[in-house]
């Protein structure tokens, strides 16, 4: 009965219109359903203004998909959320990303602390050249998570729908797995640090259709406990898995900008902006 309850509550949240980029935003920390609030985000690589004036909210325990043509700054926005852009010397970020009301891109914020709450899965599976077991226990260890490691490894692998395939070879190198299994291992290791939010940058683009479906099912499953933001080029995928979709486009001088934020069903069936409609019907980019 509990399962049905939570399922239906997700349904209602999905159906309710989420505060879109243009509307009046609630004051930070007042809306319990919004976990991330991106406000007037601008990103520069050196002199190049890559992303301009992006604002949208990410609802808690939902999947938000970022779509748009290549080079419009989807990865850039995603990488700002967990401060991965700090690793690029030329990158500069302006604006606010409020996480539970705290601005994670502000000066005094420790990026390591941010990344411990906001995990990331990359386009190309990048397991560590360690055993499957250590791939998962390592993150927990460096984050000071104590307790039964065997149990944690099993839980994470089960959550990532990988346990049955690897339970007999936990000591083997993570690189010995197939691409799809490696990607699920990367998801499992991200779950081991017990994040709030999981960012995924085209997590299935390097995978075959069956592995892709597995990852999509997995996201649906994870949504109950985590908030997911996913970048994808696959429109069907965005339509299938996400609750909310953010459409980006290229503006003048190749600057990426936000065009529309809507509940996914609405964006795909009844887009508000002509550019969105052109893009999703394949008349553009």
């Amino acid at each position: 009965m509990i399962g049905v309850d939570s399922g239906s509550s997700i349904g209602t949240v999905t159906a309710a219109p989420v505060s879109a980029g243009t509307g009046v935003l609630p004051a930070p920390g007042t809306d319990e359903k919004v976990i991330l609030s991106i406000r007037d985000l601008n990103v520069y690589y050196g002199n190049f203004h890559a992303v301009g004036g992006v604002s949208f909210d990410v609802p808690k325990n939902q999947i938000t998909a970022l779509i748009g043509p290549s080079g419009c700054g989807k990865s850039t926005v995603l990488r700002c959320i967990n401060r991965m852009n700090d690793l690029i010397p030329s990158a500069r970020v302006e604006g606010e990303i409020l996480y539970h009301g705290q601005n994670v891109v502000a000066k005094g914020i420790d990026p390591v602390a941010v990344r411990r709450r906001i995990g990331m899965v990359f386009q190309k599976p990048n397991p560590f050249p360690k055993s499957i077991y250590e791939n998962i226990s390592w993150g927990a260890k460096i984050n000071g998570i104590k307790g039964n490691m065997d149990e944690l490894v099993e839980t994470c692998l089960r959550k990532a729908a990988l346990w049955d395939e690897v339970k007999d070879k936990l000591k083997e190198n993570g690189l010995a797995l197939s691409g799809g299994q490696q990607q699920r291992l990367c998801i499992a290791r991200t779950l081991a640090i017990n994040p709030d939010v999981v960012l995924m940058d085209e997590p299935a683009s390097a995978l075959d259709p069956i592995s892709t479906l597995k990852i999509e099912d997995l996201m649906r499953e994870l949504e109950r406990q985590y908030t997911i933001v996913i970048v994808t080029h696959n429109m069907q995928q965005a339509a299938r898995v996400s609750d909310q979709t953010v459409f980006f486009s290229l503006g003048e001088q190749r600057m990426g900008m936000l065009v529309e934020v809507s509940p996914t069903r609405e964006l795909f069936t009844n887009p508000r902006d002509q550019r969105t409609e052109d893009y999703i019907t394949g008349r553009f980019g």
Partner: protein, 302 residues
């Protein structure tokens, strides 16, 4: 004649000539190596006809240049091992730390200055390091700490050899670490790892085979180093456990014989080749081990 010529006969001839030239070049270097080994073995065999192999390998007195010479090579081997050990204790930590700094911490501009400087250091003639050991390391650094140290010692020579091979370790380890894909580092950072944790627990293990190979190469370089030990280690072959004492290495002995007036074809002269052969065998073994390590632990990223 067909409109489109797909025969390409002229190119065929050109390719073949280039192939032959390249083969000859490769063959020359292989033949040289074979020739060197052949000469070593030929003369060493003559030596071993007069001195039993077991006496040579396990004897603990080396007095090749005295009356009634004894040819137990262990003192020379011990001298070589001492100096190699000291050199590695100096160079492995410093080399690895420099490599981590260069690859993970230094920003582009610093690296652009430091890396060539490091390689320049590797180009300094080794005799200069020998000098440096005798005129600076011993009197200014070691004597204040160990007042009993003599003019020549394994310690000062070993430290100088260590300094000599720091750039080798640093440069090769850094190459190995830079070859670690950026995606792997990002994976580490995305897990909430600090720079320190990513460097030591992601990058170093991923570059492990290359780092170990650089260590082994450094070891064989230290074993073969000649000029520094000839200048700074002294020339007393002795099996001792005190690195403050003078010692003679295998290479040091060879230099001593060549710079003295040992008659051609005499037993001390022939002993050179036995020592040379042993040196060759040891370094060959190290290189084989290094190749084995690299192939065994090579990480496959694709």
């Amino acid at each position: 004649m067909p409109a489109i010529d797909l025969g390409g006969r002229r190119r065929d001839v050109g390719e073949r000539v280039i192939g032959i030239v390249l083969f000859v070049c490769a063959a020359i270097s292989v033949l040289t190596t074979v020739g060197i080994v052949f000469v070593l073995i030929e003369q060493a065999v003559e030596f071993f006809l007069q001195v039993p192999v077991a006496d040579f390998l396990f004897g603990s007195t080396w007095s090749a240049l005295f009356n009634n010479p004894q040819f137990g090579v262990l003192p020379l081997v011990s001298g070589t091992l001492w100096i190699t050990l000291i050199a590695l204790v100096v160079s492995l930590p410093l080399g690895l730390l420099s490599a981590i700094y260069l690859s993970e911490y230094a920003d582009q501009r610093v690296r652009d200055v430091l890396k060539p400087a490091l390689e320049l250091l590797a180009g300094v003639p080794t005799i200069v390091y020998g000098f440096f050991a005798v005129t600076f390391i011993r009197p200014d650094i070691l004597r204040p700490i160990f007042p009993s140290i003599g003019p020549f010692s394994a310690l000062s020579a070993g430290i100088a050899v260590g300094i000599l091979i720091i750039p080798l370790v640093a440069s090769l380890s850094e190459d190995a670490m830079r070859a670690v894909p950026r995606a792997l580092r990002e994976g580490g950072y995305a897990m909430g790892a600090t720079k320190h944790e990513v460097s030591w627990q992601v990058v170093v293990p991923a570059a492990f085979s290359g780092i170990v190979a650089s260590f082994i190469l450094a070891g064989s370089r230290a074993i073969g180093e000649t000029m520094i030990v000839a200048l700074a280690a002294g020339s007393r072959p002795q099996l001792v456990t005190n690195p403050l004492e003078p010692m003679q290495t295998m290479t040091g002995f060879i230099v001593q014989v060549f710079s003295g007036d040992v008659p051609y074809g005499s037993l001390p002269y022939l002993s050179l080749f036995a020592v040379g052969l042993l040196l060759f065998a040891i370094t060959l073994m190290l290189n084989l081990i290094s190749q084995w390590v690299v192939s065994k632990f090579r990480e496959v990223y694709e």
